[in-house]
Symmetry: C2
Subunit: 342 residues, 2 copies
DNA sequence: TTGAAAGCGCTAACAG
DNA sequence: CTGTTAGCGCTTTCAA
């Protein structure tokens, strides 16, 4: 197969010049005359030349590739994030090597090793919910491969992060709810081993406290970020006959799980119980009822992460660590807009 | 940065053996004694050796990378497809290089060139809706880089394809609807420049014909695959006071656009007008009303495509072209289950 | 069982 | 402006 691949030498010998000349011409190096450059480019096109990135990267010691590690792909938050990272990378002439950890720490580690082996110029990562061992991140940082943590970050000093103001977002939505009249509020929370889990719980509690409301410990239920958590936790409270007036779901899928469970047992949203969640998605306005949420600026998350990473790739000498925190905003739709009970 | 990277030579000199020995040992080559192998692996681990894939690929002329080109990523159909391709690739020790064409033929072409430059071992592609020039695909096939077309395929002889039975799926759902009593049925169709557009239209027409129903030309509206098409087309018919009893949407996003428009003008689904679409998504059951659809087996699409591609990578001599067509199934939820009008 | 030599395709540094 | 030399880190003969 590779026998058919055209190389610099093929072009060079056809034109009776050296391969170096061809190499330079193809890259538009000012060394080479307009004439030659034009001629070279022309024959390259004719021959269907396709530069071998492997070889190029090997000798130039730059790959123009950025590794991206995410926990999931088939969720709106991440697919939107990914799409934006790709867009920004493309604008800046980088290739993205995307890997998916499936929320599994082991897999994540393997992927990182692969990326390192591919000699990516830098890495952007949203860590999995099960990642507890941060040794590998330390190693990467020691190796001086720039890395930026995006949204899901480890509790590790000295690393560059781009996150959303999870605490503030949670605070705002709960504050809004309380002002509406809600008092019995539950939080189907993320694991407190994750930053987003902790921060959202913190914002929730703080809002409750600021209003002098008691936090029922049974109403903070930690779990994973998927539908299952929402479904199971709702069912648990339902069976205990211990449903609150409002549930604040840590993610959109968790809210979906709540919708599912509520429908199953005939509990009406928002008449009997109300729901709001962290994380937006296009289809939320089509749910019944349309789901209100705390909106995360996924485009900003992606672009700022890329910019920060590129900054570090371009200048390895910078030692300060940056923590970019982005604002959220509340999107009110059919839930969490009116208190329905006496 | 690269100065810190450990190479085969570093390990070799530390152990007073040649780099060849190390190379072989690391790959578990039977040439090398158990002892040496063990020793080598151990020191490699100690030193934090990370093999340089660029170099490896360059000299072995195999990249173990597969290029994947899709039109979109933030849509359930594609993200699910991608996730499954990744899973299958991982099981088979391949890396996926994912690129997103954004439904743009030019971008798609660039991405393909990049993949070729990366010397991927093969390519899986779902072509964009605007791809009209198939020259590049011919070139790839001439170059003997295996390529498999998945779901969105070009009208090009001699290429390997894995698709869903679009025609049959469309036929079945319309047949079901007609049996229910629907007669005035519209199809918000895909562009007839795409295979899935054509096939779904064909299945639609055939079902109508088989039941002796007339196809109103104004009720087949071609367009793109996004929300916009659904919204605009609905509004068009609404303003013309020419709404049918049932709309068959070519994709799930198109159906979503219909929901949006219908709500805006106060047309009730399914009481006033009913909707059904091609393509499933987890959230459809949470829509109001839950949306019925023709389900595509994304896992099968992905796995069969990967298998076919790997087959061609492993044996370049095979000349026959394969066309794998997968069955769909109807998922009935809150729409298209009962005819509501006299 | 090990290693020396050659080369994958390209680029960087330097000479001409 | 163009070319020579050297080498990126690895694997593949082939000889020892």
């Amino acid at each position: 197969m590779r026998s058919k691949q055209i190389t610099l030498n093929d072009i060079a010998s056809k034109l009776n010049v050296s391969s170096v000349t061809v190499s330079k011409a193809l890259r538009g190096h000012p060394d080479i005359s307009k004439e030659t450059t034009k001629l070279v480019k022309q024959t390259a096109a004719e021959l269907g030349y396709s530069p071998n990135f492997m070889a190029r990267n090997l000798s130039s010691r730059k790959s123009n590739m950025i590794g991206l590690v995410v926990p999931k792909i088939a969720h709106h938050f991440f697919s939107s994030l990914i799409e934006n990272v790709y867009a920004c990378a493309f604008e800046n002439n980088y290739e993205i090597i995307l890997t998916v950890s499936q929320e599994d720490a082991e897999l994540e580690k393997k992927h990182i090793q692969t990326l390192l082996s591919m000699r990516v110029d830098g890495i952007i990562i949203s860590i999995s919910q099960s990642t507890k061992d941060f040794e590998i991140f330390k190693k990467i940082m020691e190796r001086e491969v720039p890395i930026v943590f995006m949204d899901r970050i480890p509790n590790l000093p000295g690393c560059n992060t781009v996150t959303v103001d999870d605490r503030g977002g949670a605070y705002n939505v709960i504050n809004h709810a309380i002002n509406l009249g809600y008092k019995k509020i539950a939080h189907f929370a993320g694991k407190s081993s994750t930053n987003i889990g902790i921060e959202r719980i913190f914002g929730f509690k703080q809002a409750m406290n600021d209003h002098g409301l008691e936090v029922n410990p049974g109403w903070i239920i930690e779990g994973e970020f998927g539908e299952r958590h929402g479904y199971d936790s709702f069912m648990k409270l339902y069976k205990e006959k211990n449903l609150p007036d409002l549930i604040f779901a840590v993610t959109y899928p968790v809210a979906l799980g709540i919708y599912m469970a509520a429908r199953e047992v005939g509990v009406k949203i928002p008449a009997d119980i109300d729901v709001v969640c962290f994380g937006n998605s296009q289809v939320q306005s089509f749910l019944s009822p349309p789901l209100s949420c705390v909106n995360q600026p996924t485009d900003q998350l992606a672009y700022r992460s890329m910019e920060l990473l590129m900054e570090r790739i371009d200048d390895k000498e910078i030692n300060e660590t940056k923590h970019i925190v982005l604002d959220t905003n509340l999107i009110l739709r059919g839930t969490c807009v009116k208190f329905n009970k006496g």
